[in-house]
Amino acid sequence: MSGFDLERLVPAHVASFQAYVPAPPDDVLLRRFGVTHLHRLHNNENPLGPPPAAREVLARWDPAQAAIYPQGDGWHLRRAIAAQFGLEAEQVILGNGANEVIGFVIKAFCEAGCNIVTADRTFAVYEWLASFSGIEPRLAPLRADGFDEAALLRAIDAQTRVIFLCNPNNPTGSWWDHARLERFLEAVDGRAIVVADEAYAEYAEAPGFPDSFALMARHPNLVVFRTFSKLWGLAGLRIGWMAAAPAVAATVRKISISYSVNLLALEAARASVWDTAHLAATRDHVRQGRAGLAALAARLGLPLLDGIGNFAMLRLPMPDTVAHRRLMARGVMARAMTSFRYPGWLRVSFGSAPAMAAFAEALEAVLAEV
């Protein structure tokens, strides 16, 4: 074959995009960094794992079912979620993790020449998915580490199709309350889809946190994202969901991928909805983790950035990427924040007590080397 010209076939926005390279598996990391254990404080996972009912689903799962396709659109799970939040089942769409749902929304509403608007220092996937789909990501700077409605509104033009709000924001934990989100929706006035990505909403205990499903009834351009990866402890099964007004959901459903969520994920998630004991236990764990990290920050004299979520950020007197390597060499994984445009900051998930103790010890040793 001599006529295959790959470069001619690749769109410019794909050719110019740099592929995301995930970290190697833990066994490779253990060997390369010369450690026998790695504490996972980098991905905001729930150290309590999934709720008991989901564990039971997983434990009694018959491997023979692996040969059978899952039900194509999560019939039962969508009904369980809808019942929990007072929605119709047709308003709920599932995805292989919330990342897939982000892709659904961009694919449903954006075409060449359009743009999306989000913040410069937030979850990267909105920006990435838009970029490699040939859609311009417009990034409004955060103000005081939170989404700035004035900057977002300035960034909107006639070509803007989707505005992504990360609420609470990863990595800062900052959040908009119900009234602020509603004011923003009124200011947008239906000119674009507004996504409230609430991946960490279940950690919110403040009474003012938005009831986005209620707002959706008055603002049909509002789309809400949720995930089972964080508080519900099902990150390894990859399942997230979105809810929208019926007409918006029907549009997204046209391009959503049926059968993309696997059997185990569907059943474990359905069993998790809505385990209030697990919710309370996880929130209690997070409160303890937050208090412990705040005490560590105070003892070490490190600025702390904290809000809603199972994580917080520490400002280090050294490059965060160097701290990341040196913590790895001491068996602790935390997230360097330069790639989130927070150079010098480290994001730490609230892990198990032994993991947090190992982190504290390792961080003190790393800082002592500065």
Binding site: D5, L6, Q18, L29, R31, D120, T321, R325, T338, F340
Partner: protein, 420 residues
């Protein structure tokens, strides 16, 4: 490969029969595009020599002429990388009857020679010639600049030129902040990037520049800071660096390298990955700032440098599998590219093609440039490419020593250096 779709292009069969056609294309395209005749003539000679030396089986050779304002560049593309390019190595002994003497001449005619893969199996040779800039008189910056107002910006040309002029007049910022027209031309060509801090009257009060350093790094220059020393000036340096990091995050660049740090560079924001001797022989720190987490990787390390690399890997806390590189597939035909800076008396060598004679070729290159009076020698080996290790022995025998290890999980860069 440059992305200049408007560049004049031609495709010709390889070999001497069409070499003169290639030369005339370069002259004609140069004249039509406003490239000075002396530069177009040099590139025409390069095209002629490379085409004449191309073997009949090389397939059609593409020519493209790019005017990058601060430099002109001739690119010759081959559909196959399986070429004998040994003649491009300037250190090889020349016999006037040697078929490869044309490649030797082409390499000597260029200020800089680069190679890069194209597609699945092709090879692109790039020959660069630099433009000169006339000296200019410069006004000093006005008194009373500052304080910083807002975040540093990607400046317009006038603001950047003003900053460079003021920095040059004050001797600030290092070699990068010199000759504003050249800086603007480099930026227009996509080879230089900047962030500039402004005061409330929109006057530039400081800046940072960066340029590509290999495929996955950027080299930082500066900062040039026009505020008086003190906390405000230190905060300005941090703001500029944070702006640079923010601009580069989530892209293809893995790290920032500082080979020649200006005094005001905030050292705490970097790690020291080695030392390079300056012109006076004094070791100067090589600074590095990673933009991404380093998940570990493989480094192909030649046996005689294994101890040094192992110590560096441990000191830097890198997760690396150190592999012993296999011998190169080719028996002979190794090539190194040389980038010369005659004003500084410095030559930087980089492997282009590995072969069994790599060590001798490396030593020969050092001897050649030593004979031409160069006093500073640097070599850059990519430890992610097993073939590069083959050059190490010759470089060490010629007096170069490992000086810095620049981390990159996809291929650490090992800098070797010697000062005569």
């Amino acid at each position: 490969m440059t992305a200049d779709d408007a560049a004049p292009r031609l495709s010709l069969p390889p070999g001497p029969r069409f070499a003169a056609v290639g030369a005339e294309f370069v002259r004609g395209a140069g004249a039509a595009g406003g490239i000075e005749a002396r530069l177009a003539d040099r590139l025409a000679l390069i095209a002629e020599e490379v085409l004449a030396a191309s073997p009949p089986g090389a397939g059609p050779v593409s020519l493209a002429l790019h005017d990058r304002r601060h430099a002109v560049r001739l690119e010759l593309g081959f559909p196959t990388a399986d070429l004998d390019l040994a003649g491009l190595d300037q250190a090889r002994m020349r016999d006037p009857e040697d078929d490869a003497v044309g490649l030797y001449l082409a390499a000597r005619l260029a200020d800089q020679l680069t190679t890069e893969p194209v597609g699945r199996s092709g090879l692109l040779l790039g020959f660069n010639l630099a433009r000169g800039y006339a000296p200019r008189s410069l006004d000093p910056p006005p008194p009373g600049l500052g304080p910083l107002a807002g975040a540093p910006v990607d400046p317009d040309d006038a603001t950047l030129a003003l900053l460079v002029d003021w920095a040059e007049a004050e001797g600030l910022g290092g070699a990068g902040f010199r000759i504003a027209p050249r800086v603007l031309d480099q930026r227009a060509a996509g080879e230089l990037f900047a962030r500039v801090a402004l005061d409330a009257r929109r006057r530039p009060i400081g800046g940072l520049l960066w340029q590509p350093f290999g495929r996955r790094m950027m080299a930082l220059s500066g900062p040039a800071l026009l505020l008086p020393p003190g906390p405000a000036c230190e905060a300005l340096a941090i703001a500029l660096l944070d702006a640079a990091l923010g601009a580069l995050a989530r892209g293809s660049i893995q790290g920032l390298v500082v080979l020649d740090a200006a005094p005001d560079m905030p050292r705490d924001a970097f790690e020291v990955v080695g030392h390079l001797p300056d012109a006076a022989g004094t070791p100067q720190p090589v600074l590095f700032r990673a933009l991404e987490e380093d998940p570990g990787g493989i480094a192909w390390v030649p046996p005689l440098l294994r101890d040094w690399v192992t110590r560096s890997v441990r000191r830097l806390g890198l997760g690396r599998d150190l592999g012993e590189p296999p011998p190169p597939g080719r028996a002979t035909g190794a090539v190194m590219a040389a980038e010369t800076d005659r004003a500084a008396g410095r030559v930087t060598l980089r492997p282009l093609l590995a072969a069994g004679d790599a060590a001798a070729v490396a030593a020969g290159n050092v001897a050649l440039f030593r004979g031409q009076g160069f006093g500073q020698f640097r070599a850059v080996l990519d430890l992610g490419q097993p073939g590069h290790a083959a050059f190490a022995e010759g470089l060490v025998q010629a007096g170069l020593a490992p000086a810095a290890l620049i981390p990159d999980a996809a291929g650490d860069l090992l800098l070797l250096a010697a000062l005569e």
